[in-house]
């Protein structure tokens, strides 16, 4: 059932340092750590000429590197990998628009904002808003609500 679910998304650097982890399935901390460690290792071992998809355990992993950051999504096997690449790309565009030419440091120092943006774009692993403008507007408004 629910053969289209995104199970998790990870962002990590080329040295394997985790920058963001969003889990859409319930797992223990220990399990999350193990999965993260193994997957990071596997993805970092990939050569540039290889395609963006790999089979890993019973999941499909879609990943793309943007500058020094790897964006990695694990989806269940029935999913359309090509559209997942578009999802990743959309998230990067949102970050870019929000931070203005986003780089890894932005995400390190403002990790909570990266989460907020992600949570306005995806909910439960699915896109909740397909308009870039609307996602950014919502974040903007919510930011304004923050007490000083």
């Amino acid at each position: 059932m629910s053969s289209f679910q995104m199970q998790f998304m990870l962002l990590f650097s080329r040295q394997g340092k985790l920058r963001l982890q969003k889990w859409y399935v319930p797992l223990s901390d220990k399990e999350k750590k193990k999965i993260t460690r193994e997957l990071v290792q596997t993805v970092l071992a990939r050569k540039p000429k290889m395609c963006s998809f790999l089979e890993w355990r019973d999941l499909k992993v879609v990943y793309k590197r943007y500058a020094s950051l790897y964006f990695c999504c694990a989806v269940e096997n029935q999913d359309n990998e090509l559209i997942t690449l578009e999802i990743i790309h959309r998230y990067v565009e949102l970050l870019d628009k929000y931070f203005g030419s986003v780089c890894e440091l932005d995400i390190i120092f403002n990790f909570e904002k990266a989460y907020f943006i992600l949570d306005e774009f995806l909910l439960g692993g699915e896109a909740q808003e397909t308009s870039k403008k609307n996602v950014l507007k919502a974040i903007e408004q919510a930011d304004l609500l923050q007490e000083v």
Partner: protein, 820 residues
């Protein structure tokens, strides 16, 4: 107490740490500060502290002491607090912890908050990590929000509902009314999430699916929306590289797939739009291809007309030629799924698929390999195998085993000739020999045995391969076996298929002995080699050399090897007259169940016992006729015909004594004994096989008797009781010949009255030497449950001085002890 340091400050500080130890120290210090701050119930800085904790958690440090603080933040009135609180909850809490249930009330309140962004936080958190209990408690709130006119909330509520349904499927029904006019929304966010919700419902429940098809007429609605997306002009808000809202398009196509599957009407209703999308979508960028891909998946899954299916496969074919390796990958994956159903259409792209074998990407190569094997058929087998063998040569080790298996399977199914088959098998063994699966060895041996006309060619090629390389065990094992079997053909230079090799006995024995001695050979391989050498003792004349080798290995440390050597030694010394029969050429093996009596099986340390077992089937037909003769003679109903094996194969265990001494040792030969897949009867180390053949051990004192004595042929019977079963008498016949000429083609048959059961085991040979120089022995087992007086009618046939002789006789002088 000074204000706790700010988040960014902490991050900066931690990043200055030069070692892991330094970092740990900083973290510990800060955690201690945070802990005391929590203890003081400081409201002002709680948010800042939790945020710092979340950062440290991401670095891998424990942060569970912050869980309750997250709950406090969620309960706070401040938006900033709530934002961090909910984030913390999603990162630090999960449904495994009871603590998470404390969130329920807060979430409930926040779902009804006056600020939509607070409501949004609550919906997001519930939709990401809500446990079943929470979902049950809050489903009603979600359902309410699904009906709101606020599109910001409606879209979130829809995805939250998806999560609720995944966690608590029974709650699906309650969301049904709210879905009524979801698709009439203009807002793309709501449309997208609504399609996701409808998809989830249709996937989970066939009833829902039927409902949405018939009552809601979902398909026309979706078709209309999709059409608008394609036909409408440029919409800046939703445009991605010239395509309007690709995310929504893909989700609609996916829902259409589910609605159209196995439903003719729905499939027909979507036919046109699918064709339209398939032909009009821009393919220069990934986004267009993503939509095309989804379209292809839908076309293949629903009941589309053949024109549409061909269109879909052709799209995949074009994908295969795309520069983008991601596109090639998805094409191969899809083709693999459709190759069974649309075989001919996929065949058209065969050459492109084969080219993908040379791709640099591992996943693409694997798929191309799988697809290539799926496309092999009788017409293209030669060409395809050439490509696949070439692939086998150069591919990564992770592929070799699967590729080798695939080649064997395809060769078995479609081999155009026996010679081609053997050549192909040889090629695999020489290029990927260490990667073939264990069962390949027995399968290949069987293939070779059954290709009778190719024996000379095969053994020659295998011999030459051994000269090159002895490291690949499966190759070496098959080669050893063949040389053992067909070594005589190797010497005789009989090969028709290619230039016959010139080789001497010594050279061949050198090679085999080399295998025995080599470090590269596994114990299993050594077993094969030793047996092969032994077999050559009846095919070559260098018997002394072979005897020497065998006796040397009689003291081998390897127990398996030692046992073989000792038994073969025994064969030379005590049972030399049996050796030719024992080591005879193997007959054609059948893969199906043999129909010999299972109890006849005995082990004698032969390398491939199950293969030898398979020797039993052929002769059954012949004795049946003869048994019928006996039936006639003894008055029909009285007699139970005897099942006899006329082939002088294994005798009762030549190593019978050894069986006793070595107790439990498995005598069924080495691990890769040809597991000829069939209902092979298990080896029965029954009472009989542990009985020595000859009456060396004094039985329960039953005296022997002379059963027949005529024309120089004398047959003695000796007796013993079968150990486990006192109703079974074991009689050994000893046939001797006092005339000057030997008796050849000697066959002994027996029949007993109906209350008895009789079993005749294989004779030691069918030549009774002249002038009492030896004897033919054979074992008879008689089951006599009713303890009646034993009577027997025997029939003897043999050739003496060129003429056939036949005689019948009754044996009535059984000593009472033999049947009481």
């Amino acid at each position: 107490m000074p204000a706790p340091i700010r988040l960014r400050e902490l991050i900066r500080t931690i990043r200055t740490a030069r070692t892991q130890a330094e970092e740990r120290e900083m973290i510990q210090k800060e955690c201690a500060a945070i802990r005391s701050s929590f203890r003081e119930e400081d409201n002002t800085y709680r948010c800042r502290n939790v945020a710092k904790l979340l950062y440290m958690h991401m670095l891998g440090y424990p942060a569970h002491f912050g869980q309750l603080e997250c709950l406090k933040l969620i309960a706070s009135q401040k938006f900033t607090d709530k934002r961090i609180g909910y984030l913390g909850a999603m990162l630090l809490l999960d449904e495994r912890q009871d603590v998470h249930l404390l969130m329920t009330n807060c979430i409930k309140n926040d779902l009804n908050h006056s600020t939509q962004y607070v409501q949004g936080l609550a919906l997001c958190t519930l939709g990401c990590m809500g446990s079943s209990e929470m979902c049950r408690d809050l489903a009603g709130e979600v359902e309410k929000l699904l009906k709101t006119s606020n599109s910001y909330l409606r879209k979130k509520a829809a995805l939250c509902a998806v999560h609720v349904i995944r966690k608590v499927p029974e709650l699906m029904e309650m969301f049904l009314p709210a879905t009524k006019n979801l698709l009439s929304e203009k807002n793309h966010g709501v449309l997208h999430t609504s399609v996701v919700l409808l998809t989830e419902m249709c996937e989970r429940s066939p009833d829902m699916l039927a409902h949405f098809r018939k009552n809601e007429k979902l398909v026309p609605q979706l078709v209309r929306i999709l059409k608008n997306l394609i036909m409408s002009g440029y919409s800046p808000e939703h445009d991605v590289s010239g395509i309007s809202d690709p995310f929504l398009q893909v989700r609609i196509l996916r829902l259409l797939r589910i609605l159209g599957k196995s439903d003719d009407d729905s499939s027909e209703a979507m036919n046109d739009i699918l064709a339209q999308v398939a032909t009009n979508t821009e393919t220069s960028k990934n986004v267009g291809n993503a939509i095309l891909y989804e379209t292809v998946l839908t076309i293949m899954d629903i009941k589309s007309e053949s024109g549409l299916r061909v269109l879909a496969i052709n799209i995949l074919g074009r994908f295969l030629l795309n520069n983008d390796k991601n596109i090639r990958y998805v094409a191969l994956t899809s083709l693999l799924k459709t190759v069974q159903t649309d075989h001919n259409a996929v065949q058209r792209h065969r050459s492109t698929i084969v080219d993908c074998l040379k791709d640099l990407d591992v996943s693409i190569k694997r798929r191309a390999m799988e697809l290539s094997f799926a496309l092999v058929n009788g017409n293209n087998v030669r060409g395809m195998m050439k490509e696949l063998l070439y692939f086998l040569d150069s591919c990564d080790p992770e592929f070799k085993a699967d590729c080798a298996s695939g080649v064997f399977l395809a060769a078995e199914k479609y081999a155009p000739s026996k010679r081609w088959h053997i050549d192909t098998v040889m090629r695999v063994l020489t290029t990927a020999g260490s990667y073939v699966r264990d069962d390949s060895v027995p399968n290949l041996i069987q293939l070779i045995t059954n290709s009778v006309e190719m024996h000379a060619y095969t053994v020659q090629r295998l011999y030459k391969a051994l000269l090159d390389d002895i490291s690949q065990q499966p190759l070496v094992q098959v080669a050893s076996w063949c040389i053992g079997e067909y070594g005589d053909l190797l010497l005789s230079g009989q090969c028709e298929e290619e230039e016959p090799i010139q080789v001497t006995e010594d050279e061949v024995l050198d090679v085999l002995e080399g295998l025995l001695a080599s470090n590269l050979s596994t114990p299993v391989t050594r077993g094969y080699s030793l047996t092969a050498i032994m077999k050559l003792s009846t095919r070559f004349s260098s018997v002394n050399r072979i005897k020497k080798v065998v006796s040397v290995y009689g003291s081998s440390i390897d127990v398996e090897l030692q046992q073989r050597a000792v038994e073969y030694n025994a064969l030379f010394k005590k049972y030399d007259h049996m050796r030719p029969a024992l080591l005879e050429r193997m007959p054609i093996m059948e893969k199906t169940a043999t129909n010999g009596p299972s109890e006849i099986v005995q082990t004698n340390g032969e390398a491939e016992p199950s293969a030898v077992e398979a020797k039993h089937p052929p002769p059954v037909a012949q004795p049946a006729n003869q048994a019928n003769d006996l039936l006639d003679l003894l008055g029909g109903n009285d007699v139970v015909p005897v099942i006899q094996t006329s082939m002088p194969t294994k005798p009762a265990s030549a190593g019978g004594e050894l069986l006793d001494l070595l107790g439990d040792l498995s005598l069924s030969g080495p691990a890769p004994a040809p597991s000829v897949p069939s209902s092979q009867p298990p080896f029965l180390l029954d009472g009989l096989s542990s009985q020595p053949l000859f009456n060396d051990i004094a039985p329960a004192g039953i005296p022997p008797m002379i059963a027949y004595n005529k024309n120089g042929l004398k047959i003695d019977f000796t007796f013993e009781r079968a150990n486990p079963n006192p109703n079974v008498a074991v009689i050994t016949i000893h046939a001797t010949n006092s005339t000057e000429s030997e008796m050849t083609e000697f066959v002994f048959q027996a029949a007993v009255p109906k209350t008895f059961q009789l079993q005749l085991l294989s004779p030691s040979s069918n030549v009774v030497p002249a002038l009492n120089q030896g004897s033919v022995t054979q074992v008879i087992r008689v089951l006599n449950p009713q303890k009646q007086q034993l009577r027997m009618r025997i029939k003897l046939t043999y050739t003496h001085k060129g003429s056939p002789v036949q005689d019948l006789s009754e044996v009535n002088n059984f000593p009472p002890q033999s049947w009481q």
